[in-house]
Amino acid sequence: MHILLTLLGKDFANLRRNRGALVLTFVVPMVIIYIVGLVFGLGRSDNGPSGIPFAVVNQSDNPAAQKLVAALQAEKSFRVITTCANPDKTTRALSEADLRPMIRDRKFSYALVIPPDVVSDERLGLHLKFLSDPRNDIESQMVNGLLQKTIFSNVPQLLGQALQARAKKFLGSPKLSQFNHGIASTVAQAFGGDPAVIERDMQQGNFGLDALGSGSAATGGKGEPAGGDIFSKLVKIDAEQVVGKDVKSPAATRIVGGYAVMFLLFALSNASAAFFDEKNSGVFQRVLSTPVTRAQLLWSRFLYGVLFGLGQLMALFFAGHLLYGVDVFGHLGNLILVCASVAAACTGFGMLLSAVTRSPDAARSLATLLVITMSACGGAWFPISLMPDFMQHIAHFTIVYWAIEGFGAVLWAGNSLVQLLPILGVLLGTTAVVMTIAIWRFNRSAIFE
């Protein structure tokens, strides 16, 4: 028994001294649980997506259309955009012509146009136009579902008006008035109420369809409304995919980039932790005793990381091409540029880890923690719109987010080099900042001692 306790004590003593193992054992899972919990609404008063940019152009003077805009503005999942800036910094109302270029420029991914004929005697139900860049599939499904829910919940009056208009077309105005009058009298006799008020409500399209709305709050698991078929009959939406409609393999194009950058970060973090192995084996000292300078050593390591990362990313995209038909060759030049920029930023990140830690174990543990956190927050696993606002802000400070933006811009949107410049600028700027800090830290760290 004593021997057993001694051996047990030895294992716990080792674990206590191994901070890396402790981080991997306790901190990393906790961080993942926390992030995934937030995504699925745990511990949040505002569970569900929030702040998805959603442009609305209302071309109708129907009061119920105004009500629909107000309802969309009240929906916390959306950040409704109705204006845009002029070159002189003044603002004006968005027009339909503004929407497509702005979607292509990633100002927002979804837009709703309420046309003048939102209610028409030409068709049964409403007519709306929905423009989208469904770069993120999960987010797109959620937006569709939320839009349907909002229409059902808040503007059933529009549906009633549409029915009235349609009936007027077929019956003629006198016969419809007669019909409404008869129905109102019958309802009043059977259920009570003022027949004049009931008739006025009917003429305004208010058939008590609000009850549909209260029931439709319960949406299906995939964002489909409970009465999907009814919806499609009552609301005609002209859907237009503004960006990515020519993408050959949408699902694979969406997911390959996020996972590729996550594994690249892991690989490069491990490679950078190998710095310590070289130091401990004395190879560093031997190399530095030759006419090689520290700067040459660090930059050669950086270049290796960039080429390694470029190779890994391109291999993964080629695998995506072979397995799922991701269109790599149609955008090869720009894809190489983005991959190289992502690889540079990831290499800088790995080198910074080596510079701020004191052992390979510490570097690997910190890398695991940060890579997983960055991947989760940066949108590699879930759309960032599913996360609380503060995490959406954090996302913009992660390499993963900008890498996914870059891959999407090339493979999904087919952006030109000029259009890619802002993303490349962020990635290369990040590289410059991170490498500057890393080199500064390296020159003061124990790794060269």
Binding site: G282, Q285, V287, E449
Partner: protein, 303 residues
Amino acid sequence: MLNIQAVTKRYGTLTALEGVSLQVETGEFFGLLGPNGAGKSTLMSLVAGLRPADAGTLTLDGAELRSAAGRLALGLVPQHIALYQELSAEQNLRIFGQLYGLRGAVLRERVDEALAAVQLADRRKDPVKNFSGGMQRRLNLVAALLHRPKLLLCDEPTVGVDPQSRNAIFEYLERLNRGGLTIIYSTHYMEEATRLCSRIGVIDHGRILAEGTLDELLTRLPFEEEIRFAAGAPTETLTAALAGQGNLETVDGVHRFQPRADYRLSSFYTLTESLGLPARLFTSQRPTLEALFLHLTGRTIRE
């Protein structure tokens, strides 16, 4: 050749070297002898240009050691096996040769020579990780010689090496030194310093305590011979009789009698004979570096 003047190096509050001054001349085999933590590796790393001194100067033939020219003039054999384990012996040598500026036919020739010199030519394509410890040590050594340096720095190059490989390394280093290569060899093994080095610096707590040839160093001792005998009952009367005749110390259960300069050895053996102690109990030997270190520091080199 190598001139070290008043060099000081600190790590935070720890002073690793303090006011160290040394001169090593061309063709010397200079030993740096001291226990672990004495400052040997720190001094070697300063000479190798790996880190700057906090004070003092280090020059090689008048040139700054941290300059490119200074680095090209020396080769470093680190304490650890500083090789890329996954790569082959030949690949390792090619890489280090290239870092020293060797290219093309010259590089090929030097790599071939080096592999032949350490009997690894037939294993040139094997990964280093598959080599025995002794083979790795030999390769570790020869990797520092590809560019034909003027000065070779060997930082405890035989740590963990079996006696046979150690001997092979000694012979190779002696051959190199006979060929004119200047060598600085740090060690905590007195036998190595005694066998190899033409001049020795004894270092402890970051200071050079003594420096010179073996003979010069040993003359610092106040005795010329040391007689050793086992401590215990049979020799108790002898130890009492030796009081005042010299220095008597006991290390690891062995008495070490270092007689006064005017004490005759014949007197010692007359005394033991009179006490009925057989001569086989005693060994007389020339003082060693160990005795010198004990004399200089008051402790053995292993402490």
